[in-house]
């Protein structure tokens, strides 16, 4: 898995966010403040522009740039959360030009840790955690079972989608939706929806193709 593939993943994610921008904002308007789509779209457009301007050579440089851009352009809850996610994934991969699937899986788990450090959310709080944690678990499980990265990312994407859907019946305990108490039940969480797009982008990118089965030893 190369740094270039990571760049492709980020761009694909930006495209998906742009396509689903209004849907994300509509979800946020039901249980939040109707800005999640525009927040993430503004941030990812800026991130892609930053990559275009000065293409980073290492995985850490690339993902740090994405993370820092999100942190400094998005604001609200999703800026620090998604920003930290990218920063931690990049930090875990390090100043390299390629990594193994296991390293990618470990990096995503580090990213999940960053989201938890930042937001203190756990399972069932009806947040992006509820899509991200099952995806990271699914990725690990598939790789342990010997699946190649492309298949493992498919599994992770499906797990994220299932996690996203599972947020609908939950009562929010974190973020703006928690002010609604019981009235938050019955609505899909916008941040979890964005995480599902992030994993969909990973599964559809060249991440799995280029790195499948290869180990840098």
């Amino acid at each position: 898995m190369t740094t270039a593939a990571l760049g492709q993943w980020v761009r694909r994610f930006a495209d998906l966010v742009a396509q689903h921008r209004d849907e994300l904002t509509d979800l946020d308007s039901a249980i939040g403040d109707a800005d999640h789509g525009s927040n993430m779209d503004r941030g990812m457009q800026a991130a892609v522009a930053a990559l275009d301007e000065n293409p980073p050579a290492t995985s850490k440089a690339l993902l740090s740039k994405v993370g820092m851009t999100l942190v400094s352009k998005v604001g609200g809850a999703s800026g620090p959360l998604f920003g930290t996610l990218f920063l931690r994934v990049g930090g875990s991969l390090g100043e390299v030009a390629a990594s193994t699937p296991q390293e990618l899986a470990a990096a995503l788990r580090a990213g999940l840790g960053g989201v938890v450090d930042r937001g203190k959310a756990g399972p069932g709080d009806k947040t992006m955690y509820d899509a991200l944690a099952p995806a990271v678990d699914a990725l690990d499980a598939a790789l342990s079972d010997g699946a190649d990265l492309s298949v493992a990312l498919q599994n992770a994407s499906q797990a994220a989608a299932a996690g996203r859907d599972a947020t609908t019946p939950m009562q929010a305990r974190k973020g703006r939706a928690s002010y609604l108490g019981e009235r938050s039940v019955g609505h899909q969480d916008p941040g979890a929806t964005t995480v599902a797009l992030l994993l969909e982008a990973a599964a559809g990118s060249s991440l799995g193709a280029s790195g499948s089965g290869r180990r840098d030893t």
Partner: protein, 333 residues
């Protein structure tokens, strides 16, 4: 949408230019959208900054000045500022004795201030303490949730902590006083109309001609319940009773009583409400030691009001009475 603005996207930028033009004691960093004391930093005192989404004016920029804040970061309307300007403000006011961050308890605000504090610690090594206000009893508190929102107490806390800093107390002591204000303060609000976010152009929520939203948040977040509009006497009870019950406040307590307008409600109505609040407190033998009536933490053009009570001992009262010189709150100097 009827507003005295230019482009809806320029409201915050334009208002900061107005603040700069109106108040020579303040400076504005337009790039970072920071309002700060023209004489910052002060080497003889702890710096205090706050910030958050705009649309709550005079909070926070109106509270920058001697005896209160050293700087305030203005985010977009109802959107927390990102870490960069918070970091910049932190550096701007750090005269060597550390900086207190006053943060309202919203997930975005808490996380952005936290990141800024981490960056500042890494970059400058300066000491930073944070106090998070969470006084809105309309939201159920719990360690398992995001908890209560920070509302009216923020104003009183900034005043009192500002006075403690001005006395030369150290960072821990200033943060302690601030936490004590928050721990002893509770608020609740009611909306008679929705606010309208300029960039959206239509009301955030629909509220029938005969209805009010009890327990509303300062961003137009839904409240506890929607009820038929009631006389001020009944509304006062609906606001004060949950506030009294939550701490709880007790007979004999002395309080700072703060009746706050949400932006579209004129002062005459706030005084009508204050009278009713005072009547209830008198009946409960709670002593209004100090009072504040006016629109100090608003929600754009929302019609409505909030009631904040802070239980105050002699120390907090003397800090409240200490001189303050800001554009929105001024006495003793």
């Amino acid at each position: 949408m009827k507003k005295l603005i230019n482009d809806p996207d320029d409201v915050v930028v334009d208002a900061l230019k107005g603040i700069e033009a109106a108040h020579p004691a303040l400076k504005v960093d337009h790039e970072h959208r920071i309002v700060y004391r023209a004489d910052a930093p002060h080497t003889d005192k702890v710096g205090i900054i706050s910030g958050g989404g705009s649309g709550h004016e005079p909070l926070h920029g109106g509270f920058v000045g001697l005896g209160m804040l050293d700087a305030a970061c203005a985010g977009e309307i109802f959107t927390s500022p990102v870490p960069d300007p918070i970091l910049a403000a932190t550096k701007l006011v750090d005269g060597g004795r550390g900086v207190l961050h006053v943060v309202k308890n919203y997930t975005g605000d808490v996380m952005n201030f936290e990141m800024a504090a981490e960056l500042a610690a890494a970059e400058t090594g300066g000491r930073i303490a944070s106090v998070v206000t969470n006084d809105d009893v309309a939201v159920q508190d719990s360690t398992y949730t995001a908890g209560r929102r920070g509302v009216g107490v923020t104003v009183l806390l900034e005043k009192i902590a500002g006075a403690a800093a001005e006395q030369g107390r150290d960072l821990d002591a200033v943060a302690d006083v601030a936490r004590r204000v928050n721990a002893n303060g509770r608020s609740m609000g009611v909306a008679l109309t929705s606010c309208t976010v300029p960039a959206v152009g239509r009301p955030t929520f629909e509220l029938g001609e005969g209805d009010m939203e009890l327990g509303v948040g300062i961003h137009g977040e839904p409240g506890r319940e929607r009820l038929p509009l009631a006389p001020a006497r009944e509304i006062a009870a609906m606001l004060v009773e949950p506030v009294l019950a939550d701490l709880p406040f007790r007979s004999g307590d002395a309080v700072i009583a703060f009746v706050n307008g949400l932006g579209g409600t004129p002062l005459i109505e706030l005084y009508v409400l204050f009278h009713e609040v005072a009547t209830i407190l008198r009946g409960r033998r709670i002593d209004i030691a100090r009072s504040l009536v006016g629109s100090f933490i608003t929600s754009l053009d929302m019609a409505g009001a909030s009631v904040t009570l802070v239980r105050a001992d002699d120390e907090l009262l003397s800090l409240w009475d200490a001189p303050v010189s800001t554009s929105a709150l001024r006495w003793g100097i």
